[in-house]
Symmetry: C2
Subunit: 491 residues, 2 copies
């Protein structure tokens, strides 16, 4: 076995385990540019599957894609008061547009090529998009606008971690415009449902759907909806958000429409997004001390076939069988890789595919051919069984479905095992150390929430949608509360 697959266990060092995994499973690595990552082909193939799946879901709900500029004039950020106040000011700023040869070699920025107004590399695109929508909307006939954009954004984070928090990341941002408040709220809630559906049925990650408190709301939103997932270390990870923006951006950028009744009004807005952060959520939800574990629906290869042979004659027989099997799998919609590299031994290949999370590994040797069998190994349970070659395709198809639901159920059980209710401050701080979601009463004020955050690093992840009303007392202040909210430490 190669050194390549040495790593920290989750128990030893969860954070190192994660970082090792991302790099050694060929998902991503740090680049020469501080905080910016390289997404490697294997990691990118998973992201592409996420993109394709989400893109289809967006189109099925009536959305179209478009593309808006990477750069935003600095002045645009000042136009929506809450947006500029609340939004991180850590941005990449373009000030010049030309380089020149430096005396003594190399190149330098040309001081004569200074921009009149600095440009900000988009941290999010509400401002440039709403500035554009002003030209697109005159009457109710031009509404709704249901647009999504796949792109890169930049937020100059000081402490970065691959996928979870990087200076540049990839995401999609939906920006919709509506004639009524109701329609916009419906849209924001619909997209939350799309995200939850995607997380649960493709990523196999159970999520809480909820709304954010005022403190945690997106800068410029009237309501922020979110899905929250629990990682294996008990910390929460916000996996997607959808915002009802009211008329704030329409007012800031003067986007009005004439209604059927001939009256003018400002347009109603939503925005919603998920990012390459989902890669981090996927990794931290399912993977184990042996490496990455991928749900079949997002695995670049669902099945790998590894031939085991000594002689050329054996190699030939197995190759013929494997190629036939590969064709049958593809026919059945199963993505499969026949790993016939002659540069590596089977042991290395087993370790590599295990580490890279391929859901099902099929090994075939000469004796298998004689017996009409293959050896099938499951990545999720790390178990092996001998299967007959007859009906193999159907059996593997069923196995992939079983793995997909097993991963979801395992993650759901983990979340349930690590969710509790507490009623006192002491219980709260004790449970926080164990990790997990804590349902507790809170007096509903931003001040209390802020104090709890400062004292414990725990935040209110969300107020779950359809939350049960229940009278109680705030765990910090003892003031009356009408419902429990979900606290956790978070990524």
């Amino acid at each position: 076995m190669s050194d390549k697959f040495d790593y920290a266990t989750r128990e030893e060092n969860y954070s190192k385990w994660y970082n090792d995994l991302v790099v050694k499973a060929d998902l991503a690595e740090n680049s020469a540019v501080r905080g910016c990552m390289v997404i490697k082909p294997y990691g990118y193939a998973i992201w592409e599957k996420m993109q394709q799946t989400l893109d289809t879901m967006f189109k099925d709900t009536g959305h179209v894609n478009a593309y808006f500029p990477l750069f935003i004039p600095k002045s645009f950020f000042s136009k929506e008061a809450a947006h500029v106040e609340g939004f991180a000011k850590e941005c990449a700023v373009v000030t010049h547009y030309r380089l020149r040869n430096a005396e003594g070699g190399g190149i330098e920025v040309d001081p004569d090529a200074k921009l009149e107004e600095e440009l900000i590399v988009r941290p999010t695109s509400e401002t440039i998009i709403w500035n554009t929508y002003r030209g697109w909307v005159q009457s109710y006939r031009d509404l709704p606008i249901l647009v999504n954009q796949w792109c890169n954004v930049v937020r100059w984070e000081m402490r970065t971690r691959l996928f979870l928090r990087t200076a540049e990341f990839l995401w999609q941002e939906g920006h919709t415009a509506h004639a009524t408040s109701q329609e916009a709220v419906f849209e924001a809630e619909q997209m939350l449902d799309v995200y939850a559906d995607f997380a649960e049925n493709f990523l196999a990650i159970p999520v809480l759907k909820g709304i954010k408190t005022a403190n945690e709301r997106f800068a410029g939103a009237l309501e922020t909806y979110c899905i929250e997932a629990m990682m294996q270390d008990g910390k929460a990870l916000q996996a997607g958000t959808s915002h009802f923006l009211g008329q704030n951006f329409a007012k800031a950028f003067d986007v009005k429409f004439t209604g059927k009744d001939g009256k003018q009004d400002y347009v109603w807005a939503t925005s919603w997004g998920v990012s390459t952060r989902l890669m981090g959520a996927l990794i931290m939800t399912h993977s184990d001390d042996k490496g990455l574990v991928l749900p079949p629906k997002l695995a670049p290869f669902q099945v790998v076939i590894v031939p085991i042979y000594k002689t050329d004659e054996e190699a030939e027989r197995i190759t013929e069988f494997a190629k036939r099997l590969t064709a049958e799998f593809k026919q059945a919609g199963i993505s499969v890789k026949f790993d016939n590299r002659d540069t590596h031994k089977p042991g290395f290949k087993f370790a590599e595919h295990e580490y890279r999370g391929v859901p099902v590994r099929i090994a075939v040797g000469p004796r298998d051919l004689d017996n009409g069998t293959v050896e099938v190994a499951r990545r999720d349970t790390l178990t092996k069984e001998v299967m007959n070659q007859g009906e193999l395709v159907g059996n593997i198809k069923a196995l992939l479905e079983e793995i997909q639901s097993n991963l979801y159920n395992r993650a759901l059980k983990h979340r349930e095992d690590n969710t509790c209710k507490v009623d006192t401050w002491d219980e709260f701080t004790a449970k926080l150390e164990e990790g997990g979601f804590i349902y507790a009463h809170w007096d509903g004020t931003p001040e209390t929430e802020q104090k709890i955050k400062e004292m414990t690093k725990a935040t209110i992840r969300c107020i779950p949608i359809g939350n049960a009303k229940e009278d109680g007392k705030c765990i910090l202040t003892g003031n009356p509360s009408t419902q429990r909210v979900v606290f956790a430490r978070a990524y």
Copy 2:
């Protein structure tokens, strides 16, 4: 008919015709940021079709996608001498990473947040990618690397035109690494073939495959391959390039590998790219004075069905028929839109779909239902015919194929009609005024090429692959020449 569809004709003002078309057909528009465009949903849908088609072609030839940082440290550009010399220095430069509240309102760049080394927004990614490949390659087992990236790039162009030349544009850039020179050359030529195949069979644009002269070569390449297309005004448009980079970038970034023989050598490289410029090529090749004309293989909707009715009862009958037809078309793999907007009249819809280049329009009124017919209009020829409802799907499918090849043949004929051979300087300058491709003798020196360019604005578009050898005299210097090369004025 709405004012929306007023426009300049090609004859009146070709340049205005193009700009009007791009904006009024909802393809793209200028943004608030100088030189950066907004790609509107309809334009983006065409670009998505291009992406999907190319992406499949790249994967079928063994490539995978990855993602590299948007920013490149300034010093990287100095590492490959020809690259920094030859490459445009008009770049967006990031110098700061934070904004702060300004006294008296608004925000300003925080002078304390100056980067130690400026970052360049990528104009192309050879440098950052080869810096990354150093960590990926140790032995011949790690080769080849066949990676492609879909992303945005920025080149601070002074004079911009939608799609043709914009400060920010979208593209793909392939960057491959090989153990031998032969393999890299094979790759560069293979990707040229992929581009030519795509241009001819999807965009319906005939292209010349050729190599660039030293003057026109990519900065840092040993050989630049290109496909050149002719627009309706007779000007050339470079539609894609593929570069054999030799070991230049491997040497600049110290990327070595150990061969099977145990010896170390630098890695061989290619890069290749096409961009949203192809949208400009597509528009200028096929469109006419009535607006956009799209080849069926790239049209977001190949067929639009427009209902014509007066009464609710008629509307209901037609809707039922149209929905059934829509389902049948989809079943047959034909993309179709049933335009049942009640906010616009049929005449407006006809004009709009014509202007937006929908290949086939089907109109259905109550009399058609009684007669078992529909009215079918072709966008390419602007002709109409009555078709029976029986076998409509098959007939429309055949019609779409006919339109696709008609567009290609029309463009090919246009190119042939506007291609000539000249042997004297006077003929050359006279023919240049008419536009088109001119095959002429050139003495093979960069100096002569440069002089011709300065005198006439014509450049050598390429030396066609498989060019016939023929002795002759240079049109400018009279010096001996062994082959004709292709001159033209170009976008």
